[in-house]
Subunit: 409 residues, 2 copies
Amino acid sequence: MQTSTNTSYRFSNRVGNIPKSFIREILKITAQPDVISFAGGLPNPASFPIEAIRQATSKVLSNDGANVLQYAPSEGYMPLRQYIADRYARKGMQVSAHEILITNGSQQGLDLIGKVFINEGDNVILEKPSYLGAIQSFSAYQPSFLTVPLLDDGVDTLELDELLKNKDAKLFYAIPNFQNPTGISYSEIKRKQVTESILQSQTLLVEDDPYGDIKFTDKEYAPIKKYVKDRGILLGSFSKIISPGMRMGWIVAAPEIIEKLLLAKQASDLHSNYFTQRVIYQFLMDNNLDDHIAKIIDLYKTQKEYMINCMKQHFPDEVRFTNPEGGMFIWLTLPSLMSSYVLLDHAAKEKLAFVPGKVFYLDDAVNNTLRINYSNSNFDEIEKGVKILGRIIKTLISKTNISVLEINP
Amino acid sequence: MQTSTNTSYRFSNRVGNIPKSFIREILKITAQPDVISFAGGLPNPASFPIEAIRQATSKVLSNDGANVLQYAPSEGYMPLRQYIADRYARKGMQVSAHEILITNGSQQGLDLIGKVFINEGDNVILEKPSYLGAIQSFSAYQPSFLTVPLLDDGVDTLELDELLKNKDAKLFYAIPNFQNPTGISYSEIKRKQVTESILQSQTLLVEDDPYGDIKFTDKEYAPIKKYVKDRGILLGSFSKIISPGMRMGWIVAAPEIIEKLLLAKQASDLHSNYFTQRVIYQFLMDNNLDDHIAKIIDLYKTQKEYMINCMKQHFPDEVRFTNPEGGMFIWLTLPSLMSSYVLLDHAAKEKLAFVPGKVFYLDDAVNNTLRINYSNSNFDEIEKGVKILGRIIKTLISKTNISVLEINP
């Protein structure tokens, strides 16, 4: 029998468009236990409700194992969809369980939205910088990306409005709460301005909200979906409030959109893991989710404040950083001529990792930013890591004679 | 604030290409408890290892909960990939764990393969009839489908060879073991002939094998992947041998293909449910999979034989049916002028369901076939359902005066 020697494969054009995840590459490096990692976006495992999940699993398998392990509807487990709808209602946004589709984390939500909306060459607007995972998901459907800068209180709404008026984009993708990577949140005014612009356009808002519940402030922001209604699609996730390894999230959208997403969901993997849906629902029935979230908030808020204090103490004045009101990330801006890749090279030698900001941009414009995660490091690691970073930055400044005048405006 | 009245959405072209799953529509109907359903492709819940899964879950959460609930590598849990590779090795096919990617059932495998290989308009060859889920997955990437008839011992290899020579297809999708929907298996000769044809072409074989372990015979067939080597991609699944609700399967492919599939996997949902991967692996460590599969085989084999005997007893001679050596389905061919949709209308009134064969075809050529599932009905249901079918078919024959001469050749 002939043996094949042909190993050149004819891949689709789209696969060349999907950027590699630099973050997941870094995560491989940081898998070593003695590395201090500010790189990932990992929840703190101290926040995982391990014993409660064990009990919930035992219960659903004992009570209804034959169904729990069987094929299930593509839409997701109806009581879980109803729970999610009820939770939005308690927060002031009325949605029906039929407007909710269960997905494998928000990431699959992004993929399904790309599949259902994006034709090759369609314009898609992103915040600048934006979540790399969304860029990956959408890229597979070969859109043309347009970007709008993030300001301290949310997207630059004047630029957004210009783009919406002139570029006929299919989608505007935004993370209005404690954005990844910057930690920035949209003010109420910005939410209203975005709403006005969206409603006057043909563009749909895709609002990603994985961090909204991890909130260190009493301020209450409604999802923009509440204002734009059927012109918005909202993504939610259990990853940051229960467990990311369980890959469970959801999409909220108008029934006409859900119908198409459901078709794409069936074609993609029939339905989300039903065993896990039932375990999560049982956990939610037997435990108070808000009490659980309060513990996560306590933990992350303390870590964030400790890190901010360390940064104030150990960083030179030339470094600017955000002070997020929730979520998991701080965004650093170095002096304009300093490269965060050079900083990473030095940091890696001292077993410290973070993500250079450039990976969150579609162009090569910005080299002097970085994303720092605080949710998955303890006080010792935070202090030690920030000290190392501060020392390297000071050395780099002195070496290159970068003066205060050269800081980014 | 302006209220949106615009509810016309601009969906992608591809979403219009994905056919609705008629099967999943039927499953909604058959969700009623008093319906006899030969329609689904559901494993028998009596075969689910509920207590063993409960114990495995308890163990992994108690021993390693902090990792089990955390984000994980996109490739899948390495020991699970190694287990799958070792199992193939025991069956005579050497593959490395690095050639295995964990997916959300085989269905996601099909989607990822479509994403990574199919450009709009590319030729993809299917068996005729073929698995509807594969047609759905591939359709999202807008190929041109070509089909090759299935004969009693596998695909028509002369027609296949012609197509491979003249149509430069990207993929040939086949289910060589106990095919869905027909129950047909490829003979060893056909496997070798397919191998020769594939190796002389630029086309990749996509070999779907969800049923291969559910085997009622001592005959041993190697996956065609073993012969075509790097020119083949093999899909496997735990759905039929452990639990479909856990949505866990895998792809076996050359490292160069796995690299691209991995990129698509990251973009699609980061990684498969890690909690479930760990539970399944623990189950596999603490239980003998082959012993478990032997119990499933006993169950399904008995049910299949009972159903075949009922069919022999209650069906008129004009009805032909396959007698599969494994898997979950029997394929019925009615007299050529009889419509299986008309049969379904009558059957549904007597609370009996099955799937008309037409949904497994891409053209409208065949109206007189149907798929019957035997894995998920007990003896009483099988006997009652086959009696009903036999009675309706006889009535339809007498009404339409269809003679034996009009049976399909």
